[in-house]
Symmetry: C2
Subunit: 153 residues, 2 copies
Amino acid sequence: MELPDGRINPEYYVLEYPTWINVTAITKDGDMILVRQFRHALGQTNFEIVAGVVEKGEEPLEAAKRELLEEAGYGGGEWKELAVVSANPSTTTNLTHCFLATGVEKVSQQHLDATEDIEVYLFKKEEVKEMVHKGEFVQSLMLVPLLKYFSGI
Amino acid sequence: MELPDGRINPEYYVLEYPTWINVTAITKDGDMILVRQFRHALGQTNFEIVAGVVEKGEEPLEAAKRELLEEAGYGGGEWKELAVVSANPSTTTNLTHCFLATGVEKVSQQHLDATEDIEVYLFKKEEVKEMVHKGEFVQSLMLVPLLKYFSGI
């Protein structure tokens, strides 16, 4: 692996990340909450589900509820864990906890960090399933819970 | 992100990886080919599908066929692309091409690199589907094609 400064790292280089979360969120009306955000490394803006980092002292579920509120302004509902996955178990040390939140409601405005620019969208579930089928989501950590949700596997 | 040497990198740090591939492989007898390999960053040995790196000058499909032959000794069959995904579009520049190979046959012994130690297993498809359901696969880049294969989404 070559770093931006040109150093080559041996294969046992390991990336220490904090735990991540993401949220497959369904509103009381049965719509899915998607967000759009520019992703630097791929240079693309794609539809995504709400996602973020577990802060020090937080449980993954707490972080998931905080991120849904901050990024989209939604809260309440029923929560459960759909999957726990790794982006790459040979190079990254962290896991991503994927939550399903059903019956959430708009309770506030977005509260974004200074560096965030996130647009919020509501989609019919069937539309999102079709987007998954057509390959419109690229981020594997988000595709796993979406595929699990739609397939029941 | 903190590096092993203690340096803190800003958020726009980007990891340049080559293109990756993985293979959901089904034998002529209808079994799925899984491998087990120690993954350093998580410190775990999990069941996985065959996966690897696209070498310079190779097409993703060529690399997938080469890896299935090298890691498991299987070849032939019908090949198609199931998905193209990113492990993390905010930090890694590469994509993973996920192939489905059906009707493959044992054609040789494994040809492993010096640093590889990979065990090969055949499983019934229903067993693998149950393993996916129970969370026994942790690597999101492999769960996406497995979930797509089993769900048809």
